[in-house]
Structure formats: C-alpha cells, structure tokens
C-alpha cells in the first residue's frame, strides 16, 4: 500500500484525461478568482461549489475542489501586491513588501516572484506529499477507534491552543460546533437530539450551510459595513532580474521547509506559517532594514510558505482523514459526501482516486503559473470590482450552494443564521476555525468514542493504555496545559488571532 511509481503513473494517466484536465483548469481558475476576491475564501468557495459537483464523478470533483484550494493560495497575493488588499489572511505578510514594490513601479517582478515562489514551494510540497502520505498511511493502518478518537481530540486541542490568547473563546467555539453537529438523530439509536420539537431539525444541520454562513455571509456583512475602496497600481514589466531570483532562492528553500513541516500540524494554517516565514527571513537577512520597504525576499518567503503549508495539509487529510484547517475540513466533507473513507484505507481501497488527485496537483501547479503570470493584469482588474456588485454576487452563489445541498430553503435559513453568528464571533474575538472543525469531525469523534468504549467495556483508560493513543492524548493534554498557562500569565482580554478562511 506504500508509495509505488506505478500508482503515481496511473494517477498521471487519469489526471491527464481530457475531463480531469478540464476540471483541474476550472478549479485553478475559480481558485485564483477566490483568492483574488476579498470577501470570499477557499473554505467558503469550496463549500459553495461542493453540492453542485454531484453531477461530476468523484475524482473530477475532488480534483476541482483541491485545485480551488491551492489556486486560492496563488490568487491571494495578486491583490495584496497590486492594491494592498490581501485576498486571504495568509497574504498579509506578502502585502507588506509586495505593495511597497508596487509603489516603486516593481509590481510586475513582485507578482512574478510570488508566482515562481508559489510554484517552487507547491511542487516541492507535492514531492513531500507523494512520499510522506503513503508512509504515514501505512503507519495509520494500525489505528483503531481509540487512536482515531485521540488523534481528533489532539487536533481540536491544538487548534484551540493556537487561537492566540482566546483559549476560553476557542473552547466555546468548538463546543458550539459540536452542539451544531449533534442536532438531529443519533446515528446509532435514531433518538432525536436537541431538535426542540422541530421536525426539520431531525435530518440535522449540514456543515456546508454552517461554513458558508460563518465565512462567506459574515464576510459580506463586514465588507458592506466597511464600504471597501481600492487603488489601482501599474503592473509594468513583470520579469524579475537574475539578481532578484538569486536573492530569493534561499528564502524559497527555507520557507518551503518551514511551511511544509509546520503545515503537517493541525491548526497551523498558512496564515500562521507566512508570518513565521517572513519573520525568519527578516532575522536571517544581512539587510533586515530592507524588509517593509520593498524587499523581494519579503514576497518570496511568505508565498513559498503559504503554498508549502497548503500542500502539506493534504498529508494528514489523505493519511489519517484528519483536516488541519477549515478548507481541509470542507474537503474532508467532500470526500465523505462521495462515499470515500478518508484515512489510510483511502490508499488501499481507492488508490486510483488518491493518486489521480495527487498527480493532478502537479499539473495544477503548472496551470497556475500559466494563469498567474501572463494574466496578472486581468486578475488585478478583477480585484477592483466594487463591493456593491461583488457582495450581492457572493450572496447569490452562497444561496445556490446551500440550497443545492438538499434543495430546501431550510438550509439557506441555517446559512443566514450562521452568517449572523459568524459576524458576532468575529466582532467579539471568537475564533471560527475550532467551530468549523468540530462541526465536520464531531460525528467521527462520537463514533470512534462509542466504539472505543465498547471495546474497553466503558473504561476511558483505553485511551491511555494503548501507546499511540496515549501519545496523542499526552500531546492533547500538553496543548491544553500550554493554553491554560498562557491564559494564567496573560493579563489581556480574550481576543483570537486573525485567522484564515
């Protein structure tokens, strides 16, 4: 079940079929658009489109969804550099030096180096994914329900502890996510839970309505109140000089490594690694004073880390069925929607699927460089679409996406409610990521907890007596301890750090 060149070549053969190439291109295009447009991120973009992809075969649908995700990582930098509007939170460090370069008339080289660095890191990250994921999947084959429960528990605690100083708010966010997914019928007994007598709640709340509401609708609400304006910059010549490229080679290598290895951890999203990468490059640079004033390494470093992290997120997703970020949680939901069992068995039972998706990512990276370099002028113009047009269109697509889950207006109402909840969560400094992840993995957690307790005849000690689950539980408790320690020492009020979609 481990890595095999045959599987990879078969994957390339499937990915190179006309249909899959087309859907990868569509995904790359939509992804770049999602990255370029402020107000819509990859998680909501994928969530909106997911129900509509039921007309496609699973492989094509997931190829497209994955392309949207990594495509958005390319697109986010364009607006950050050209108009100083980071399309995603992860593009904020890129905007620092990228926009400075644009003001100096060097927007072209900044955009080019951003695309080159993204391609370089994305491709190296893919090599890591190709060899790492089957290895980890081999290791995960021995996982039973206790190990899975402990792994998911650890993922949730890590995500909460990375919510900045907002530990309590992170736990509340997670608990609200769990509560949302508990609404409906108990999967084993069929008993109705938390439905409060509403028959429509018996079928449960679909996670897509929750995610679209939390991200897309709340973002629209925030943008309409701020009434965004944009300033255009001239792109100029887009070719970077050899000196520029040589200057960026070191940062690209370093930040790919950082982005990839940190990206394997749950909760470490590109918005975290891009800042880490930018900070590291500034520290190791011989001329740190250039950072913030248009240093080209300040563009290459975060962009490399951004793409390496987003590719690394596929490693735990494919090998353990573990989402490390909200966008990955939506992709996990997509896999489950198509009846694919995420985790180690994916490599065993559906190798043609998983290797086709991995191979398509290599192709997608090439497509993205082609889409991003010559068409940069077009993307820059798209990002200045005024919000009075963009806002209603985002809502239109959100309504289409949520309505098409079950073709009932009820799901749209749920989206609206979670839009309002998401708006208040952002205003009051509650992190959204724990809620999204809890909503998606709650049922898997409950099932594995139930099975574990069945094995142990009701004893929770099973999580501490099996070595792998004991390690995960230990890490989870360490993470909780770290969070509590930060809370006790911190004299500041609870505010979550800025998080990525």
């Amino acid at each position: 079940m481990g890595f095999s060149w045959d599987f990879l070549f078969q994957g390339f053969a499937t990915a190179f079929s006309l249909q899959n190439l087309l859907w990868a291109l569509v995904g790359c295009f939509i992804g770049t658009l999602v990255g370029v447009l402020p107000g819509i991120g990859p998680a909501s973009g994928i969530a909106i489109l997911l129900p509509m992809t039921t007309v496609l075969p699973p492989t094509s649908a997931i190829i497209m969804m994955a392309a949207i995700y990594y495509g958005a990582m390319y697109g986010g930098s364009t607006t950050a550099i050209v108009v100083n509007i980071p399309g995603e939170a992860s593009s904020v460090p890129t905007a620092i030096d990228g926009y400075e370069m644009a003001k100096q008339g060097k927007a072209g080289p900044a955009l080019a180096i951003s695309a080159i660095s993204s391609f370089f890191a994305g491709t190296l990250g893919l090599v890591g994914l190709t060899f790492f994921a089957p290895l980890l999947a081999n290791f995960a084959v021995v996982f039973g329900p206790p190990e899975y429960f402990a792994l998911m528990f650890m993922a949730l605690t890590l995500i909460i502890s990375l919510s900045g100083r907002a530990l309590l708010k992170g736990v509340i966010s997670m608990a609200l996510g769990l509560m949302t997914s508990l609404i409906g019928q108990d999967p084993l007994t069929g008993a109705s839970r938390l439905t409060f007598g509403f028959p429509k709640l018996l079928a449960g709340i679909d996670f897509i309505s929750v995610i679209v509401g939390l991200f897309a609708i709340s973002e629209v609400m925030i943008n309409v109140e701020q009434r965004i304006t944009a300033i255009s910059q001239k792109i100029g010549n887009w070719m970077p000089t050899w000196t520029d490229i040589k200057q960026c080679l070191g940062p690209m290598f370093r930040c790919t490594g950082i982005g990839f290895f940190l990206g394997l951890l749950p909760g470490v999203t590109p918005s975290v690694t891009t800042f880490v990468a930018y900070d590291l490059e500034k520290r190791v640079s011989r001329h740190p004073e250039r950072f913030g004033h248009g240093a080209i390494e300040g563009v290459a470093a975060p962009e490399g880390a951004n793409n390496a992290t987003s590719t690394a997120g596929f490693v735990p997703l494919f090998s353990f069925g573990l989402p490390t970020a909200p966008s990955m949680a939506v992709l996990l939901g997509g896999l489950m929607m198509y009846g694919l069992q995420p985790g180690p068995m994916l490599f065993k039972q559906n190798p043609e699927f998983v290797w086709a998706v991995i191979a398509s990512m290599y192709i997608g990276n090439v497509m993205l460089v082609i889409l991003n370099l010559p068409l940069v002028g077009m993307w820059a113009r798209i990002c200045v679409i005024p919000f009075y047009i963009l806002g209603p269109l985002i809502v239109f697509f959100s309504v289409l996406g949520t309505y098409s889950i079950r073709f009932i207006a009820f799901d749209v109402w749920i989206m609206l409610i979670f839009g309002v909840i998401g708006y208040f969560m952002r205003k009051l400094g509650f992190p959204v990521a724990p809620m999204v992840l809890a909503t998606v993995i709650a049922q898997m957690m409950e099932t594995s907890l139930g099975q574990s307790l069945l094995i142990s005849q009701g004893s929770p000690l099973i999580f501490f007596t099996r070595p792998i689950s004991a390690v995960f539980m230990g890490l989870a408790f360490l993470s909780i301890g770290r969070g509590i320690w930060i809370q006790v020492r911190s004299k500041a009020p609870e505010v979550a750090i800025e998080e990525a979609d």
Partner: protein, 155 residues
C-alpha cells in the same frame, strides 16, 4: 457595549444560560437500550462545557482591569446597510419557491446593487438580468439541478 469587557460578560452569561438549556434538553433525550455511549452523554457534556466556559468568560472579563479594547461595531449607516442586506437575503429565500430561482435572483441582485449604489441603476439591471439568466441556463438547464423554476418557466 462599545468595549470588549462588558460584551464578554454579557456573552458569557448568555452562553452559561445556553449551556444550562442544553444540559436540560439533553436530559430529555430518549436513552433506549443500554450502550457504552448513551445518546445523552455527548450532548450533556457539551452543555456542561458551554456552561462552565460561559461562566469562566464572564468571571474572567469581570475581573479584568486593564485597557479595555474597543469593539469595531459599524456606525449607524453601516448597521442599517447590514440589516437591510440581511432582509433582502431573507426575502430572496422566501420568494425563491413561489417566483423561482431566475426571477428571484434577478430581483435580489438588481435591488441589492441599487440599494448599495443607487446611482448605478443601469449596471444593477444588467447584472441582475445576467445572473437571472445564468441561474436558469447554467444551474437549471445545463446542470439539471432541482431549483424552483417559478411561474415564468413552469408548464
């Protein structure tokens, strides 16, 4: 509530009440046959967690004595825009079944753009028409998704 401290106290109290309510609602869940994990266990654990964290948030904020950060609430005009936009979205949802997706989309997009930028009425109508048609040709005709068609296209 212009700053975070009073808002967190209020939210903490609200969450504590919500937690209590979840605990109560969980006790109403039918148990059925005896299992290692009862259908009540997780909902009541979640209820207790919300209750404890809500109290914790309220108490922590109440005891906080440092510089209280301001909440970036919208001004009166911003709040009005949000409320009206939400109302448009609610009307879009309500009208989608009787009017159908194409017509309700045309109305929603046109009216929303007109509301946000009244001077751009031609743009509003053109974009509304384009997306009304897109909703019909792409999503109903091409993808064959079961969206309501409304009286204009039925029969």
């Amino acid at each position: 509530m212009k700053t975070l401290r009073p808002a967190d106290i209020a939210v903490g109290c609200f969450l504590a009440l919500l937690g209590l309510f979840i605990v109560y609602a969980s006790s109403m869940i039918r148990e059925g046959v005896e299992r290692a994990l009862s259908p009540r266990t997780i909902p009541s654990a979640v209820g207790y967690l919300i209750l404890v964290c809500g109290i914790g948030l309220a108490v922590k904020s109440w005891r906080f004595r440092g510089e209280d950060p301001k909440i970036n609430w919208p001004d009166r005009e911003g709040a009005k825009i949000i409320l009206v936009s939400l109302l448009f979205l609610a009307l879009y949802t309500v009208l989608m079944n009787p009017l159908g997706l194409p017509l309700s989309t045309f109305l929603y997009v046109t009216i929303s753009i007109l509301y946000l930028k009244p001077s751009k009425w031609i743009t509003a109508i053109i974009i509304g028409l384009i997306f009304g048609m897109v909703s019909y040709y792409v999503f109903i005709h091409l993808l064959k998704l079961s969206f309501p068609m409304g009286f204009l296209f039925e029969g």
